[in-house]
Symmetry: C2
Subunit: 411 residues, 2 copies
């Protein structure tokens, strides 16, 4: 699928009669709008001239102090000076890549990986190498082998990019022991670990997983975001980085945007200072847990044999694998015709893998719509299975181009 | 002066007892805060879920339509699809450079040029070549010669970067005939013209100058901003670009930040739809005109002979040239000690020029403070002249490093 085809697909998928299990849009409707209206009104009344002015390239210092409380929830202790506020954590990804990578440098990523990160690595002409995952995420033996193989080929590895908690798109989470192993491998190899954690506070069971950065302040760059815990439309994210990296990120940020929006930053800051944000995150968790349950129930009940999926313990996504012989990319237009949309798995790889996979999002539609969407999808898959039995493999419609772009609703 | 020294200087310069003629911060206090409070309250009440959600990578379509009205003021007619909304026009600068330039490509810039643009061109390892200006800005003969010389050296010129109206830092404006000549030269040479116009609506006399883009939709990329006409803290700017460039800018923008902030964009959109924005810009103009007059009066009255400056017809800046033998960079700490700050001219060049120059901003301080600042500055310059007469040239304090960074208050 080419970028233009994906765009066309999304244009159709956004029609109201289509159940979209494609987009990664948080359900911002779950945020009581008065919480923000009160916040911004007070902000403009009390600190209007600051909120409307240029600010520091590194980000507002009070907000950076408040971010310490947020990342404290995943076990990180840091200093406000370690933090760089960015226009969404996507921009932090962009800046880190800009600082670390030259064209041809290797970035190791999970298999599959976040489409927006792949877009950044490609934009900087990095050589992206996928590393296998299992049901606990990034697989240590595969990671060791990938490092050895890349180095044997004479190439330089600049970053290991990982989403340890509630992975996008894989829906899996690294356990504590797994995190320790991955960190040990990265340290031993002397490669910076780029830990992307937009969903860390959106777990459905127990405490939020402890971040890898909580156990290594020097070798790990941690990316966080308010997109899923407050609102994505604010575009406020951050990086926590070791001193030398932090300095370079700030210089790069100043060249890129001068400074992040004070208006958005101080809205977040005022919200954190005056609203019960921990309770609000709890209520987001409840919303997403209910939707996850609706999706898993429907998958269990309706999916034909041979279809498998991951069981997410948090976040927004499940990763589905079709029976042998089926092709999620080729099937996408038929799914749309049956009024259900998903993201074909190939978008999450740079190398054409993922044809039997799709990402299913349960974050945005209401539970009943999720059930209806899964019902339609199961119907499409059943028809495909019949076709394959009758005529042989549906086969690839077109060679994978790997040119999927990170359309915002893939976020 | 090194980046760290400039930062230290600004840290001191921000102390309340110092009159800062250094920063380029708009006087956002001139915007009645209720205009925005009402706006954002209505926005969140009526369209909260959209304002708080991810949006399109190209920017909100309604806002793009409204931007057509704004750029209509400088004679541009375009289509909403020609516009890409960015996180401040700084980000548009970054994206255009990313799309056009490879390391070693030449960008022609004015002499002096905007420090934030130089920072971007440097970040992408462009080879920046300064072209002389006169009191009507970029000088056509010098431009022709620069193109010929660069091409004779076998290098490739990717962009001509110009600020035609109320130049930062030079304080000069290209007349209509000058603009025609520059456009003709760029077209003949087949080089894209990057027209940066943050101050175009802030002229003090007559109609806003007609943009170069108004006379060429194919060869000119136009950058605009709400930073100076509404509020810089929103970080909403835009590029108007020909079709093929526009597509690449959107892809680059999606990789960099996924999408600009809907919250900030829709705040601007709602403001434009419901508030008397043209009248508000008029009142900004009055504020800045009064301050410009205060500065020019004070300069006329107080500056020692041999000191010259440009007379801006709009915008935020005058460019001052010291008498022979004086050095604005070396003098900066002495000025700070005398409680007045400016930006030394060297920051606006990549090649060490500008040692006799400084940028004076009249945008932020009240008129009385401007007069007091100029009085202090005149005293410092007089002492320097005496020193030079007594002991010979003050001489360069340290070799120019060209490493000035675009600190936000240099914007």
């Amino acid at each position: 699928m080419r970028a233009s085809e994906i765009r066309a697909l999304f244009a159709v998928a956004s029609r109201p009669e289509v159940v979209s299990l494609a987009g990664g849009m948080p359900y911002v409707q779950a945020l009581p709008v008065e919480m923000l209206t009160d916040t911004v009104e007070r902000l403009l009344r009390e600190r209007g001239p600051v909120a409307l002015q240029y600010g520091s390239g590194q980000g507002d210092v009070t907000l950076r102090e408040q971010i310490l409380d947020v990342i404290g929830e995943v076990g990180i202790s840091a200093h406000p000076d370690d933090i760089v506020v960015t226009t969404g954590s996507q921009m932090a990804l962009d800046l880190v890549t800009r600082v670390f990578c030259n064209p041809g440098d290797v970035v190791l990523v999970e298999s599959p990986s976040y489409v927006g990160a792949l877009g950044v690595f490609r934009a900087y002409e990095c050589d992206v190498v996928h590393v296998a995952m299992d049901d606990q995420g990034l697989e240590p033996t595969a990671l060791r082998e990938a490092i050895a193989a890349v180095r044997a080929s004479g190439r330089s590895i600049k970053l290991i990019y990982t989403i340890p908690s509630f992975h996008n798109p894989a829906g899996v989470t690294q356990g504590p022991e797994r995190r320790r192993e991955i960190l040990a491998i990265a340290r031993e190899a002397g490669i910076a670990l780029l830990e992307d954690d937009p969903y860390g506070l959106l777990g459905f069971e127990g405490e939020p997983p402890r971040a890898i950065r909580a156990d290594d302040a020097d070798g790990v760059i941690y990316l966080g975001s308010f997109s899923k815990t407050i609102a994505s439309g604010l575009r406020v994210g951050w990086a926590v980085a070791p001193h030398g990296v932090r300095d370079k990120l700030v210089l790069a940020a100043e060249a890129a945007v001068l400074c992040p929006s004070n208006y958005a930053q101080l809205t977040v800051s005022e919200y954190l200072a005056t609203q019960p944000w921990r309770e609000q995150i709890k209520s987001f968790r409840e919303v997403y847990r209910e939707r996850r349950d609706a999706m898993l129930d429907a998958l269990d009940t309706l999916m034909p044999a041979g279809t498998t999926w991951t069981v997410p313990a948090g976040g927004f996504y499940s990763w589905l694998t079709l029976p042998e012989g089926l092709d999620a990319t080729a099937m996408a237009p038929r799914a749309i015709a049956n009024l259900v949309a998903y993201v074909p798995g190939t978008g999450f790889y740079v190398d054409g893998q993922g044809r039997r996979n799709m990402r299913l999002s349960y974050c945005y539609p209401e539970p009943d719509r999720i059930r209806e969407g899964v019902r339609r999808l199961a119907g499409v898959i059943e028809s495909e299975i019949e076709l394959v039995h009758t005529f042989g493999s549906a086969g690839p419609a077109s060679p994978p181009s790997g040119s999927a772009v990170p359309a915002p609703d893939l976020a």
